[in-house]
């Protein structure tokens, strides 16, 4: 990807975020938009881990859980402002990722998948069982960010949906910008090199364990911030956010949209967030349709939806 491509990707994303509300018939669409952005943010993190560095994680919902509960717990117990709690959650997630990443990133393939899966389940179990702290499976309230009230006092009235659409959109743009910057940076090149061949990468001087760990920590921070944003906009959080299915959902979004591309990942997140909303009429068949879409994409468009479509448009069929 060249520098020009980076700005095209960012420009397309920014335009979509800014212009889509013009077509929204009701406030509900802001909510769906904000959800898409939150999901896309954690999926962009996975693009760095899976797409750039070629590692797999089935436990990233665990980091989303840490981010989410940081926003719920820190204001209540430490008196932190919710905005600072987002940072705290990101730091805790990053440190956790560094600590557990060191041993488990030595594993490859299935073993890495199972180890990350174990981590995700551990977080989810702690959140469910530490009832005194987290409220257990019933969940707990999350303090208000307070920014919306501040804007209102300044004369800018926003509904909850509009406000979160804006915040999540901006955070997603920043996240996408950082991820795209990383792509062409020395670290990004090193990650992509080890993705191609660890042996080859290490012979040309890439510190393989270090770069793997870096990708893991960065993606954990993305997931954590996404979890925080979800908690703040919902105002209520349950351990579901750290559940195994949420981890799988993230990976599915990344793979569906195109795991090597930031824009593709966003696209995958959009589709998998929208489908359940579109399919409410056929709620019973939702899983069936999702599975079918997934299988078809894997067979016919193994690169993921967006990269495959882009390639066809350019007339460079495989």
């Amino acid at each position: 990807m060249t520098g020009r491509n980076k700005w095209i990707s960012l420009g397309v994303l920014a335009l979509l975020i800014a212009l889509l509300p013009l077509f929204f018939p009701s406030g509900y669409y802001y909510r769906v938009g904000a959800l898409i952005f939150v999901n896309a943010l954690s999926v962009v993190g996975l693009v760095i881990l899976i797409g750039y560095a070629g590692q797999i994680s089935l436990g990233h919902a665990g980091f989303a859980g840490i981010g989410a509960y940081a926003c719920a717990l820190a204001p209540e117990h430490l008196g932190l402002h919710p905005a600072l709690a987002v940072l705290l959650g990101a730091v805790v997630s990053g440190v956790m990722a560094a600590l557990i990443g060191k041993p488990i990133l030595r594993l490859k393939g299935y073993y890495l998948a199972v180890a990350t899966l174990g981590f995700g389940i551990l977080v989810s179990m702690v959140l469910t069982n530490e009832r005194a702290l987290t409220g257990g499976p019933d969940g707990m309230n999350v303090a208000d960010l307070g920014l919306r009230g501040l804007l209102r006092d300044m004369g800018w009235r926003l509904s909850g949906g509009e406000f979160w659409y804006m915040i999540c959109g901006v955070v997603l743009l920043v996240g996408a910008w950082l991820a795209l910057n990383l792509f062409d940076s020395p670290s990004g090149r090193a990650m992509r090199a080890l993705h191609g061949s660890e042996v080859a990468a290490s012979t040309v001087g890439v510190d393989v364990p270090r770069q793997k760990l870096r990708a893991f920590v960065i993606s954990a921070v993305y997931a954590s911030v996404a979890g925080s944003l979800l908690a703040l906009q919902n105002g209520y959080i349950t351990p579901d956010v750290a559940g195994f299915m949420h981890s799988v959902e993230m990976v599915t979004m990344a793979v569906l949209g195109g795991v090597g591309s930031v824009l593709g990942a966003t696209f995958g997140a959009a589709i998998l967030t929208l489908l359940p909303q579109v399919l409410t009429v056929f709620a019973e068949y939702e899983q069936l349709v999702l599975g079918l879409v997934m299988v078809l994409v894997m067979i016919f468009l193994p690169q993921g939806l967006l990269p495959s479509i882009a390639r066809r448009l350019k007339g460079r069929d495989e």
Partner: protein, 382 residues
């Protein structure tokens, strides 16, 4: 090319055609967990409401206006529940919301309802839903605390003062465990042993043995849900306990007797609703008519037995229909809320509801009936 068309279709569908009916009807919104881990709650709830709406519309609706029902399945996911609640309010423009099968989904829906000023009747148990009272939030199931009080009242009558407790660590068991500990003192009950088990555990003999070895325990109480209480019941029988066993309203269903075995369950007591003893209610019982007509209609339509949870949905629907009728204006959520709060003496399957500005649950302990299992069937004890 194929993929482009599919994508374009999906996007179009997502952006465009999501709107519900918009005629001169009463728009009612429902979000329940009809699938997923809480489906045992949401499935009978969804079926009940669909059936009741159909019945009501056949009879001519409310003041001549039919009900247009929009029902979503949130799969027990609070995040989805919040999205559907937003959709019901913003897009489907409903005048009231019923649902929230679990405490988590209810808490998500209620903040939307409060923000937008739409009356919401929850079908979940936790006391935190209505305490403190929120302007637009009501609920139909009794709280865990009331179940504890009902059980302790019965214990008092039996002269029991010292008990052992064994609770599940799932949401239901843990919440009830905490509530029971809080109110035990008020009834002169002392909890000598307090054991727990995981929701998937297959044997509770060690915990029960510890309870049996605790001096002075006169009864065992098991707040829990699902298969756990059935295993406790069987273990208690195997260990040859000679003291009474109390279960919670969480297992008040015929399936529980089948699971535990009629022999092991013989003589145990629990607080349940009138629905459970529909066929044994006296004809002059206040709830006779409501309970019989609901159980018969449900059985006829779905060929399944009713459950307590479907009963919660039945009562929520009855409450909202009653409120809309009295409000006189089926377009104004505020008027419906006000009418709802004035509900007085509405007989449901769970109990008799009377709301007030201080009480958005509106049930008292009389809603529970103390039941004993006798020869594999429920027997009301007074």
């Amino acid at each position: 090319m194929m993929s482009k068309t599919t994508t374009a279709l999906a996007t179009l569908a997502a952006l465009g055609a999501l709107t519900g009916a918009a005629q001169a009807e009463i728009r009612l919104g429902v979000s329940v967990s009809a699938t997923g881990p809480a489906a045992f709650l949401g499935d009978p709830e969804a079926k009940t409401i669909e059936m009741l709406v159909e019945q009501l519309n056949e009879e001519g609706g409310i003041n001549g206006e039919e009900i247009a029902l929009t029902l979503y399945d949130d799969g027990g996911d609070p995040n989805k529940a919040r999205t559907f609640a937003t959709r019901l309010v913003e897009d489907d423009e409903v005048v009231a919301i019923l649902g929230g099968s679990t405490t988590g989904t209810t808490m998500s829906i209620l903040s939307v309802a409060e923000d937008e000023g739409i009356p919401f009747i929850s079908l979940a148990g936790a006391i935190s839903i209505i305490d403190p009272v929120r302007e637009f939030v009501f609920k139909t199931p009794h709280t865990d605390r009331m179940a504890c009080e009902k059980i302790f009242t019965d214990m008092q009558a039996q002269g029991i003062t010292k008990i052992g407790m064994i609770s599940g660590t799932d949401g239901f068991g843990a919440s009830m465990q905490a509530q029971c500990k809080e109110v035990a003192g008020d009834h002169g009950i002392e909890i000598l042993a307090d054991e727990t088990y995981g929701p998937q555990d297959a044997d509770m003999t060690p915990q029960l043995t510890r309870i049996r070895n605790t001096d002075g325990v006169q009864a065992v109480l098991n707040p829990g849900f699902g298969q756990g209480p059935a295993i406790v019941t069987r273990n208690v029988a195997q260990l040859g306990f000679e003291i009474p066993l109390y279960q919670s309203h969480g297992v008040a269903s015929d399936a529980f007797i089948d699971l535990a075995g009629a022999e092991a369950a013989e003589g145990l007591r629990l607080p349940g609703t009138a629905l459970l003893i529909a066929d044994k209610l006296a004809e002059d019982d206040a709830q006779y008519e409501v309970v019989t007509s609901y159980t018969e209609a449900y059985k006829a339509k779905y060929d399944q037995d009713v459950s307590t949870f479907g009963g919660y949905a039945h009562d929520a629907f009855a409450l909202i229909v009653d409120a809309i009728t009295r409000a006189g204006d089926s377009e104004d959520p505020q008027a419906i809320r006000d009418a709802l709060e004035e509900t007085s003496g509405l007989v449901g399957t769970t109990g008799t509801y009377s709301f007030s500005p201080e009480d958005h649950l509106g049930l008292d302990l009389s809603a529970f009936r103390m039941l004993e299992i006798k020869d594999g069937d429920w027997l009301p004890v007074e």
